[in-house]
Symmetry: C2
């Protein structure tokens, strides 16, 4: 039962080890486990969710470690912060270029992958302001599930 998914996760963790060494950072079990949780989830978890999941395996882990580690993983571009205009930050470990659909009703975050020929153009004027690091496209609306629930209520 060593599925493709598990094999891929192992590869990603190896990459984390490499990156840590490269940046002179220690490879701690907390770092591994916290990264695992984000990398293995499609739910764009927030810090608290990660904390709860990690606590299952490491009951003594502290909230602070989770926040600190998420921040350092972000610094080394291993994970990204999903822009959600909400008080809780949410994280994503998927490095394939994609954007997000954010439901304003239920706050669910959906991944929008671009088709192979597709590319979001930068505004022509963007470069005038400085050196661009990344572009973040957030599409807000009401997701199908919530639209359906609205309809059901009306009947």
């Amino acid at each position: 039962m060593n599925s493709d998914k598990e094999k891929m996760l192992e590869e990603r963790i190896d990459f984390l080890r490499t990156m840590c060494k490269l940046k002179g950072m220690r490879v701690t079990p907390q770092r591994i486990e916290i990264y695992k949780q984000v990398a293995n989830s499609c739910e764009h978890p927030d810090a608290e969710t990660v904390y709860e999941a990690v606590k299952e395996k490491m009951p003594n882990v502290s909230v602070d470690t989770v926040y600190r580690t998420l921040a350092s993983l972000e610094d080394m571009d291993m994970i990204f912060r999903v822009d959600n205009q909400l008080p809780k930050a949410r994280f994503d470990a998927d490095k394939t270029p994609h954007h997000h659909f954010l439901c304003v009703k239920c706050n669910e975050v959906y991944d929008i992958f671009l088709e192979s020929d597709e590319k979001i153009e930068l505004p022509k004027n963007a470069e005038r302001f400085g050196e661009i690091k990344d572009i973040n496209v957030q599409i807000r609306g009401i997701c199908n599930k919530c639209l359906q629930e609205q309809k059901n209520k009306q009947n």
Copy 2:
């Protein structure tokens, strides 16, 4: 000295009055003043900045009123929250379609206006997820001012 800018601000406040009545909301001096502050600024102020500015004219205004009013102005699409991945929310009353350049060094927010022939395309798959309300393009990087400062330090 009744400049164009002042005239335009008056028009916008009239629009606010109309919108409030339309939505059955009361037109209070606090609402007018808070909206004025956001509408009259190009700085994408945060709640505290708005609060300080409003306090000049209305010394008894409360923080809570500022937060509550900013939220209701947002609900009625009179102002928008600028996505900045920072703890303090910042607001923008400019309804002409534009995006933002956010400096990761100094947290300054710059407006990126599209040229007349320009339009940011939605990802083809975006509509699959639900009903789209708005699209938010945030470009993060280091602004010219901070780049310059970096150069100066190196010498």
